[in-house]
């Protein structure tokens, strides 16, 4: 029994020791619990909130683009898309596999998604697929349990009701690239587009708006439990253009299949009412991605549908340049309006002979006659007298060969050569170069928009700049009034002389462009033809006598040009027309110009005689 007592004693001691150990271990756990829950409580509370609260940015609707009468030419339509909340899926690869199987995602799409997964921040959802059909949406919704983190949401996408008719003006939007996103995190939102050309690009920031923020309570797999807070974004601003969408459409219809461009401007303030380029492309294609075949088709077309010929097409102005030469001569006092110059059909300079377009010559001509007949020899002589530098200075002043203050990206500057320019390139300037400059050939290259600007300045006497923006968010931009533009600083009489010549071109018996005469007897159009050779006509071809541009292959034919303004007595609209490889300006471009001007005048809201029905006019009286 003694032994038994000893054993019991040992047990009791050791059991008490164990109890002490257990109590102290539990005490330590309690202390640890105190440390986690009380000492570090605040930190963990923050973490718990970070867990459950998911902040999301809400993409603002992009501002619309309107024409001058408020017609929507670039708007938004609903776009159903599948997006993935990365933070809500714990098996991203698996979920993507399931999604890829359901909607047959291409490898290309898959690699894009993976690229985005890689670089996007966690809180920014990733766009999986856009423009979902009803069937695809149903497929996603039915399989929602297998697609944690994937939701269908309605975004907006860009829609261009006028499609290719305004493609080059409106431009297009495309998904932003990584460099864009680095500048503005808003762009990382799925489906957000950035303007890539045209007005979409120029006014991109104004139309983009500001993102809203959404605070959502989510669970561990990302299901939204409730909305905690919502801050609405600010929609992008609407931009109203000076463009008349109806006129633009009409102009494009008139162009048919020709590779052509035309610009209609309000010559008093530089507002561009129409800027047509034919052929064109459908800008909404860029929204969803351009297919390779489509791209090849565009790039292989000799008529260059992707290039805005109005601002980026460079052409020799040909005879349309003669008004600038005349003004240069008048201003430099090298000629007077009454000076008569004899045209025997050619001008000899040393052993080089420069021909007039009319084989027999025009005889004695004053300035008015020179313009009316578009006599080459007359302007060879003027150019010879005044010198190329004066011509260049005057043309730059009229808007030719200089950068215009245009609010459309991508304009080209062109060139009106000077001696200095030629010498800086290591060549001597020859008198022959001056002489061909007199008829707008040689090194001179201008854009149709520059031609329209040139005629506007000629007609209005103001230094108007072409522009497409009329108002942003309802605020009319400066430049809408004629008084916003400085006067050109040439004597009115001088301008008038030249205008008179242009009037005679169209309205006088024997003028070169009778086809441009307006049908409406109350209004008159003043204009000037032009043909721009695309390659040098050799002496042999000319002397062999069988030179006929009609028989040349299309791409060697000269461009047909026409510039005009109307009404003659009270100038309001200026236009320029270029038909690529259209041969003679008088035959091809003048009738188109006449049709465009007729439509422009018909659409003029001030043109009461034509626009108001008879009864209303009588009521008014």
């Amino acid at each position: 029994m003694k032994r038994e007592g000893e054993r019991t004693g040992v047990f009791t001691r050791r059991a008490l020791l164990l109890m002490g150990g257990q109590v102290s271990v539990l005490g330590l756990l309690g202390a640890r619990l105190y440390q986690v829950q009380v000492n570090e409580g605040a930190r963990y509370t923050t973490l718990a909130n970070e867990n459950r609260i998911s902040a999301r940015m809400v993409a603002p609707p992009r501002g619309r683009i309107l024409d001058r009468y408020g017609t929507v030419i670039g708007g938004n339509i609903t776009n159903w898309r599948a997006i993935m909340m990365v933070e809500q899926s714990n098996n991203i690869a698996g979920t993507l596999d399931t999604f890829a199987n359901l909607l047959s995602l291409s490898d290309w799409e898959r690699s894009r998604i993976e690229r985005e997964l890689h670089r996007r921040r966690k809180y920014i959802p990733i766009l999986l697929r856009e423009f979902l059909s009803w069937d695809e949406m149903a497929l996603i919704e039915v399989n929602a349990p297998d697609l944690p983190g994937i939701v269908v949401d309605s975004g907006t996408t860009r829609h261009y009701p006028f499609g290719q008719k305004l493609a080059h003006v409106v431009g297009y939007v495309a998904p932003p690239n990584e460099a864009d996103v680095a500048d503005d995190p808003l762009l990382a939102l799925p489906g957000l587009r950035i303007g890539r050309s045209g007005m979409e690009k120029y006014h991109d920031v104004a139309m983009r708006g500001r993102a809203g923020a959404l605070q959502l309570e989510v669970n561990a797999v990302g299901r939204v439990i409730r909305e905690l807070d919502r801050e609405e974004g600010i929609p992008g601003e609407d931009v109203s253009l000076t463009i008349d969408a109806g006129l633009q459409g009409a102009v494009l219809n008139m162009m048919g299949d020709e590779s052509a461009s035309a610009v209609v401007m309000d010559c008093r303030n530089g507002e561009v009412l129409a800027m047509a380029t034919n052929p064109s492309f459908d800008p909404s294609v860029f929204n969803s991605g351009v297919s390779e075949t489509q791209w090849l088709e565009w790039t292989k077309d000799k008529r260059t549908p992707l290039i805005n010929k109005a601002t980026s097409g460079l052409y020799a102005p040909g005879s349309t340049f003669k008004m600038a030469v005349a003004l240069a001569g008048l201003e430099a006092k090298a000629i007077t309006p009454g000076d008569r110059i004899d045209c025997p059909g050619y001008l000899d300079l040393g052993d080089t002979r420069f021909h007039c377009w009319r084989k027999g010559g025009h005889g004695m001509l004053d300035l008015r006659g020179g313009l009316k007949n578009s006599c080459d020899v007359y302007f060879y002589e003027v150019a010879r007298r005044v010198g190329v530098d004066h011509i260049a200075a005057m043309s730059n002043r009229m808007g030719l060969g200089v950068e215009l203050e245009l609010d459309l990206p991508g304009q080209r500057v062109g060139l009106v050569p000077t001696r200095e320019w030629r010498i800086s390139r290591g060549h001597a300037w020859n008198m022959g170069d001056t002489i061909v400059s007199g008829i707008g050939q040689g090194y001179i290259q201008v854009t149709p928009l520059q031609l329209a600007t040139y005629v506007s300045r000629l007609a209005s006497g103001r230094m108007v700049q072409p522009h497409l923006t009329r108002s942003i968010a309802g605020v009319v931009q400066p430049g809408a009034q004629a008084d916003d533009w400085p006067v050109i600083g040439l004597p009115d009489k001088m301008l008038h002389t030249v205008r008179e010549g242009m009037w005679a071109v169209v309205n006088e018996q024997g003028g070169t462009a009778p086809l441009a005469k307006l049908a409406d007897p109350t209004m008159q159009l003043a204009g000037k033809t032009g043909s721009a050779q695309v390659r040098r006509v050799s002496r042999e071809m000319r002397e062999s006598g069988n030179f006929d541009s009609e028989k040349l292959p299309w791409e060697y034919r000269p461009h047909a040009l026409f510039v005009a303004y109307a009404p003659y007595d009270s100038p309001r609209y200026a236009l320029s027309v270029v038909i690529e490889h259209g041969n003679a300006g008088a035959a091809a471009a003048a009738p188109l110009a006449q049709a465009i001007m007729t439509e422009t005048l018909r659409r003029d809201p001030a043109n009461r005689t034509d626009a108001l029905p008879r009864q209303m006019a009588e009521v008014g009286r």
Partner: protein, 381 residues
């Protein structure tokens, strides 16, 4: 006088036995189960289904079982000790051969719709077997190293089998449990030192032989933030849940971590986190106090018992419960590597509840039969 004699009888009246059950201890168990019911009600998002009702039914069944066992004569139970040990080892072998694989380990046996975790039963059987072995040992014999060899083998065989499943956590708990009984039985201090001292060295060797998932557990325990979405996720989310609970908690059914599913396995391993989030430090400490009462109550039952078998069994069961509690709570607080050990009577889960209640049944039986004549077998020396 009559009464005392009565208890020494081999079998005494059923009614008398029922009166000897410590009802206050039963009440403590019921309180703990009620805590479990509350927590599981919350874990289901404020509904009795699917956890809480089943938990209550299982506890009710377990309680009836425990009360029935408490009336079984402890000497009878002692006779079952070694058969139980053999049965436990057999089941462990069976689970290695045809067990269900979970988390890279074979742990469960499917027995007629019941999930059986043999390692849980084994711990109970080991306690009985060791208690039965040491029951007949005098203080002198305890000093004889040869006498210690059979119980050491009896401990190492199940520990080895559990390690092979592989289930490092339970194997460690089983080994520690065996150690507690050896200690209480009076094995000399220096022998313990002999075993404990080389452990750090062995641990290093063992680490290189561990499974990847076990190594990952230890690594993430050391640096949980290094892998916030992988293996460290559980620990981080659990600490966030506990910490955000603060002093008073977010309130019943208001825990965001639990209800928004950030907390993994909240109805099983991380049920204590759930309680800590919703009831704060106050609630957590209250539950820990309740658990401490149950543990210490078991130890007191051991101290009160008059025979070595009962003493060792009661101590073993109390220590087993303590180890459960310690591993689970330390785990959810990120104090030890995650081990997949539930909080007994609180966590959702059938087989653990059953074995724990069988254990408490035996514990109660020890107390009912604390004074019975249970002489050690004749000393052969």
């Amino acid at each position: 006088m009559m009464d005392r004699r009565l208890w020494r009888e081999p079998s005494f009246d059923i009614m008398a036995k029922i009166l000897q059950i410590i009802w206050i201890y039963v009440l403590l168990l019921c309180a703990l189960a009620a805590v479990g019911y509350t927590a599981l009600y919350s874990a289901a998002g404020g509904a009795p289904e699917p956890y809480a009702t089943r938990h209550a039914l299982r506890f009710a069944f377990g309680l009836v079982l425990a009360l029935a066992i408490s009336l079984v004569d402890i000497r009878w139970i002692a006779k079952l000790a070694w058969p139980a040990w053999i049965g436990g080892v057999a089941l462990l072998v069976l689970v290695l051969r045809m067990g269900h694989v979970g988390k890279g380990a074979q742990r469960w046996l499917e027995l007629g719709g019941l999930q059986l975790q043999p390692s849980e039963l084994m711990k109970l059987a080991l306690v009985l077997a060791l208690a039965s072995w040491f029951h007949r040992a005098s203080w002198e014999r305890m000093g004889n190293p040869l006498f210690l060899i059979p119980p050491i083998i009896a401990t190492l065989i199940p520990v080895g089998l559990i390690l092979k499943e592989p289930n490092l956590g339970t194997a460690t708990i089983t080994a520690l449990l065996g150690g507690c009984i050896f200690f209480a039985a009076g094995v000399r201090w220096w022998k313990f030192l002999l075993v404990i001292l080389p452990i750090p060295l062995l641990a290093r060797v063992a680490y290189s032989h561990l499974h990847d998932y076990q190594r990952a557990r230890i690594d993430t325990f050391m640096h949980p933030e290094s892998d916030p979405l992988g293996a460290g996720y559980n620990i981080i989310q659990s600490k966030i849940a506990l910490g955000s609970g603060g002093m008073w908690g977010k309130g019943f059914l208001q825990g965001t971590q639990g209800h928004l599913d950030f907390l993994p396995e909240k109805q099983t391993d991380f049920i204590f986190t759930m309680i800590g989030e919703e009831f704060g430090l106050v609630g957590g400490l209250a539950v820990m106090t309740l658990l401490a009462f149950i543990i210490l109550g078991g130890m007191l039952i051991a101290l009160r018992c008059r025979h070595q078998f009962g003493r060792l069994v009661a101590l073993g069961i109390a220590c087993n419960f303590f180890l459960y509690v310690f591993v689970n709570i330390a785990m959810v607080m990120g104090a030890i590597p995650v081990g997949g050990v539930p909080l007994p009577l609180v966590s959702h889960g059938g087989s653990a509840m059953l074995t724990v209640m069988v254990g408490f049944g035996i514990l109660l039986s020890v107390h009912v039969h604390r004074d019975v004549e249970f002489p050690p077998a004749r000393d052969r020396y």
